[in-house]
Symmetry: C3
Subunit: 204 residues, 3 copies
């Protein structure tokens, strides 16, 4: 369905998400099995929540052996070469940001195909991209990172909103997708580079 | 489907649930986005769990833009006027108790329409009303409040049980609904007024 | 569908899972209602997650009054006789291990009926058997035990893998099931007896 470069982003994104899950699990000193599960949950959790909400069952990863293999080997590699992999932080950040963009688009498009309103499609895109990390943090007994730090989910909301207008325009589908992915990517780079984050609103 | 006053309770209940979610999030010092998500999860989480369990997909809030707007503005208002809103604690408690009643009924009725046994329908009503708060607490990394304090879920179980008998009787539907909502409302008031709570059963 | 002894294992397994849930809840000093909920979640959570993932809705326990009754009375008994029940730790361990085996098979078979790949069926069996405990720990605000200690999920993976080969062989269905249950049972006994656990992979 998608051309090759989107498949590549899918693989790189799944890799980055799975590695981030394995890192978090290893910091919590989980065992081999626990680390594997957290890798999977981080990489496929967002798509799973989206599929369940819209009634896309069996959920997509049950039929998607290739992605599961990518995640499995990503987790194994992280467990074997964890300390070394951390030297490639920048690469992992890039893959994660690209994956964030692609997963947002996938969620958005599933919403459009099902005929939901634009706001719901944007929400579904954001859920697809972000809720794997939410489930990871819940399973590791932490308040989800994306509720507290950095601009992460907001990048998806922004990218999906722009994508909605591109989607409606006469622009070719893949071109729109690339623009959206690059936009989310750029927001992430800027947010991390300039340490931007959303304001917190306490109760006094 | 429902007359105006039930719609009004729906809006007031969603408002109270969203505000309670936003307050909890703000106490945890989440950022804007996190606070918004916790508001939504608190208000629609119970119905979402119920819809998923019975196979009511796409889950109802995906098609219910009005409720989402109410929740969105409730969260924004709470973030803007949090300290002032707390002066209206009594009003919020009243709205919450009314919402608890209505959401119990909605869950119960969906169960009956699907032909489940009365006990399951009572459970579905209770889940609809209470699991938003459970998800809120899980996401905020706390043991769910309703497992520990006050009579909250039990009010729903009691109200739904009475409603079952009213449902079977010749009584007019809306009258039954009002009685059930008032009953759950009364149990909540009495429980909080007299600081009633369920016994805890420790292991010695 | 199943002969009597598998029904018996189902009841004993549900009993053991519900008791383990009630014990965990009582250690956290939850109230009556919270303890009841944790019992249910522990006993039916795994099957619920599996049913949701494969689209088996309404999820099976909504139609399975007998299991719910077993769980309900298991929780009540644990609350009433908790300290005494702990003297039967060995019996509870045996029931839990038998239940683990049976629930793995049930999940595996549902996967095969739906036409999933063997690896997915093994995963579904493991999820059915283990995710009740995961949800229990998440609701009690702990990192899931099975991600950290002992060989638990791995017993299911091992048992389900063997079962796959038995399933394909000419062996009679019930005989295969018994072998698989006994195998998972044996792995659990050996793991606990010799304090075996999976290695943890930290980040230095």
């Amino acid at each position: 369905m998608y051309p090759g470069f989107l498949h590549l982003i899918d693989i790189l994104g799944s890799f980055a998400f799975a590695v981030s899950g394995a890192f978090s699990a290893m910091q919590r000193k989980l065992d081999l099995f626990g680390t594997l599960i957290i890798s999977f949950v981080t990489a496929i959790g967002g798509g799973t929540v989206r599929d369940l909400l819209v009634g896309n069952v069996p959920v997509s990863w049950l039929h998607n052996g290739n992605t599961l293999l990518v995640i499995f080997f990503s987790a194994i590699i992280t467990m074997l070469f964890g300390s070394k992999l951390r030297q490639f932080n920048t690469a992992l950040f890039v893959f994660d940001a690209l994956g964030l963009g692609l997963f947002t688009i996938v969620g958005f498009e599933i919403g459009m195909q099902k005929g939901f309103s634009p706001a719901i499609c944007i929400a579904l895109g954001t859920i697809s991209a972000c809720f794997g990390g939410v489930l990871r943090d819940v399973l590791l007994n932490k308040v989800p990172l994306i509720f507290q730090k950095e601009i992460y989910a907001l990048a998806c909301v922004g990218g999906a909103t722009i994508y909605y207008f591109l989607y409606r325009s006469a622009l070719h589908g893949d071109l729109s997708r690339v623009i959206c992915i690059l936009l989310i990517f750029a927001i992430r780079i800027i947010a991390v580079r300039f340490k931007l984050s959303l304001p917190r609103v306490y109760l006094k």
